[in-house]
Point group: C2
Chain length 460, copies 2
């Protein structure tokens, strides 16, 4: 019997699988075991691959023959932290369907797309249990923490995975069911954590205030220095390796069907910053950023506390575009921060793991890789047709602003490129309170996936 | 029987009387009732004066006659918040004596000095129950929140208090028992809370990152703009009303007996900021500041969360010197912040209550008030002699960096000036973890207070 995607997604999203916070270890185990049980039920040979942190699910089915296309389906069972919990309309880990959407942390990122993939497959298997397609589900548990164990996993399993023809996944976005995006590129990412320390302990701001440089003031100065007036990242060499987008990419972007005003109102910001004179969607898809994800220091409670705090910290992530190199940019940002720290405070800058950017042009473009796998080329065409049928409009092929660092790592370790079908929409509140996944997107996504897998298996 | 100051202080400090946090209402009541009971035991007529927040203790004893000096003894029974609790060597609200000090929140600020005052008085009363001195204890419960109810209290009780001759208190500091400071001025204070809002909810920093101005970036830019490179406050007109210190003040400061290096090492900072070319102790005692007491925004938990936060905030306090006006400076800082907010975010700036600075020159100086009360003039002289006897060295007369806003308010409402004996030391960790009060300071302070009160009562 084919999978009921809503029931599956509800059950799967009930596990609070927050990978970054060790308090959620049980939710991680629960989500992983639930998914493994499902895959076993569909005849997959399922392995749980241990890593230094959260295990990876590797599940295979179908004939292991040269003439049968071999597709790796990627997903991740971990989710972002759900706080601030008080901003959720219904509990983050009690999925609820209302107004055509299913709400809950992870319902979109990335458990919903896995419901789409698994349901599409279950429908094909219902019609043909001998489906002539080799499939490998590769589902990791550290995507939301930057996949720290993935390189180690690839060292051991890269050779085995390289026997496949391509990777197929949905961990990227589209404007909505009316316009699906097939993602041709992802921004890379790197993280930094900066801590500024001043006096040994918090000081009374009256008794000691004057000659002591406040760590918050020092940190604010450093943060403020990292962008210029225009909003560009003010770090020497930051933009040196940035490749301007191709003409066909700008043309595809023009078909996106969302206006700047609509997007601005949806986000609720008074105005956009046209960094370097670029348009908002260009800034997201073609240019790098340096963002402050969190800042903290001193007294944050009710009322006031008249102190000079001992410490202050900021969490930074950069999004990178081709051909910026993660290690190179990390070092440049680190150096800039260190150089800008005044002598009256101490500073510690940690660069955390990330990933370099990724790009693949569809077949038939001026910058298409001449060595593209025939199965991938066929999959791009199948996606264009199947998405057109399911959603009533051909997809556009476009880079996106998010990062899936492992796509680049998979390419480097296995030589495989990825076909990325965007199933998230701006309505989904990814990484934010009230995350949700649209039921229309889910149903049409299942149809599209069914079409792609069918065309890969049977050639039509 | 005279009071046992350690027992009194231990019992008094066990009440967690944090006025700024409503979770500590019980501790506030406990501390207040404990103090009232003590005062009753020494024959005071005790009143509990209701205010919109925390009641004020008003307690009087002694002959109500023109020829008997009338001294108001000021103190406060509230304390600063004690977090971060994990940085305390012993629990904040379980006072503990070790190595010649008593540790616990409030043991110094301001419960210890009240132990000194009450013990000195109890010794005099032991010798002479008819002590010819009228005394009014005025002990408030909102000092650590900027005394918001005090002006309202003064409207009702100012007339009655104005019949006294002077105010005597210890809510200020000295370098240590080897050099006591009689405080001739206090910095004023004002608070601001700034909140910057961007997108309606936290956003995914990949999917939306580029055209959205990050509220932390906007706030950091605003904060960084509030000081110049040199560390001076960069707000138009901020320094306009600042009066340079008199020669005798600079001379007194030179006797402080603490070097810049000693003070720097004690605070644990790599270097001092010589704002405007001034020396560290001059910056604390003669110049105003703008400090960031706390900053927060976005994700501050374990690991990372790749968001553009919806909001970020900062808590600011300014310390003011004569003749800066609290309301004037508050408006200038508010305007500067509003003007510097970029159009891509929204901003809210709240100015919270504070107090203007205060100054009184001792008798015989070029800038002594010719209308100084004879009792106050005598008290200054008694303090010089009594402190000299108790501590082995004459005190120095000097302004300090802290704020006791009510001193200025008392002056305005009653015409009374204050004699402030500094009993806190830099070792006391005021407003910080491991606050403590030195037992040597306590014992010698009791002797000095006994001498001052005795000389006021008997003229010798």
């Amino acid at each position: 019997m084919p999978l009921d995607p809503i029931q599956f997604l509800t059950e799967y999203s009930r596990f609070p699988s927050v990978s970054t916070d060790s308090a959620y270890a049980e939710g991680m185990t629960g989500a992983r075991q639930y998914m493994m049980k499902q895959l076993e039920a569909f005849g997959f040979a399922v392995e749980e691959i241990a890593t230094p942190k959260h295990p990876i699910i590797l599940a295979e089915r179908g004939p292991d023959r040269e003439d049968v296309p071999h597709v790796i389906l990627y997903g991740h069972y971990d989710v972002q932290p759900a706080d601030p919990f008080e901003l959720w309309s219904s509990p983050a880990f009690e999925p609820e369907v209302r107004d055509g959407r299913i709400y809950g942390r992870g319902t979109a990122d990335n458990k919903g797309p896995q419901a789409v993939q698994l349901t599409a497959l279950s429908r094909l298997l219902e019609k043909d249990p001998e489906l002539p397609l080799r499939l490998t589900f590769l589902i990791e548990g550290e995507e939301e923490m930057g996949s720290p164990s993935f390189p180690g996993f690839l060292e051991k399993y890269g050779q085995r995975l390289s026997k496949a023809d391509m990777i197929l996944l949905s961990d990227t976005g589209s404007p909505g069911p009316e316009q699906i995006v097939v993602t041709t590129g992802l921004r890379g990412m790197l993280g930094l954590e900066v801590t500024v320390s001043g006096p040994r302990t918090d000081l009374h701001s009256g008794i000691s205030g004057g000659p002591v440089l406040n760590p918050i003031a020092a940190l604010a100065r450093i943060c403020a220095s990292l962008h210029d007036e225009d909003g560009r990242v003010n770090v020497p060499g930051f933009y040196d390796a940035v490749v301007e987008p191709s003409d066909w990419e700008r043309e595809e972007l023009s078909k996106l069907g969302v206006t700047e005003e609509q997007y601005r109102d949806m986000l609720g910001v008074p105005a956009f910053k046209h960094v370097g004179g670029n348009k908002p969607f260009e800034l997201i898809r073609f240019f790098p950023t340096l963002e402050f994800n969190g800042i903290g220091g001193g007294y944050q409670g009710e009322g006031s506390k008249t102190i000079i705090p001992s410490k202050a910290f900021v969490k930074i992530t950069c999004r990178l575009v081709p051909d910026q190199d993660e290690a190179d940019i990390g070092e440049k940002v680190r150096q800039a921060i260190l150089e800008r720290c005044p002598p009256e405070v101490r500073i510690d800058v940690k660069v955390t793991e990330g990933g370099s950017p990724y790009f693949v042009a569809p077949p038939g473009r001026p910058n298409t890789d001449p060595a593209m796998s025939p199965v991938l080329a066929k999959a791009f065409e199948a996606a264009e047709v199947s998405i057109g049928e399911a959603f009533g409009k051909r997809p556009i092929f476009l880079r996106e602003g998010g990062s899936v660092p492992i796509i680049r790592q998979l390419k480097e370790a296995t030589g495989l490129d990825s076909l990325m079908i965007g199933l998230f929409t701006p309505m989904d509140n990814l990484h934010a309170p009230d995350e949700s996944f649209g039921l229309e997107m889910m149903e049409k996504g299942i149809d599209a996936y069914e079409g792609i897998l069918r065309r890969l298996a049977y050639g039509k």
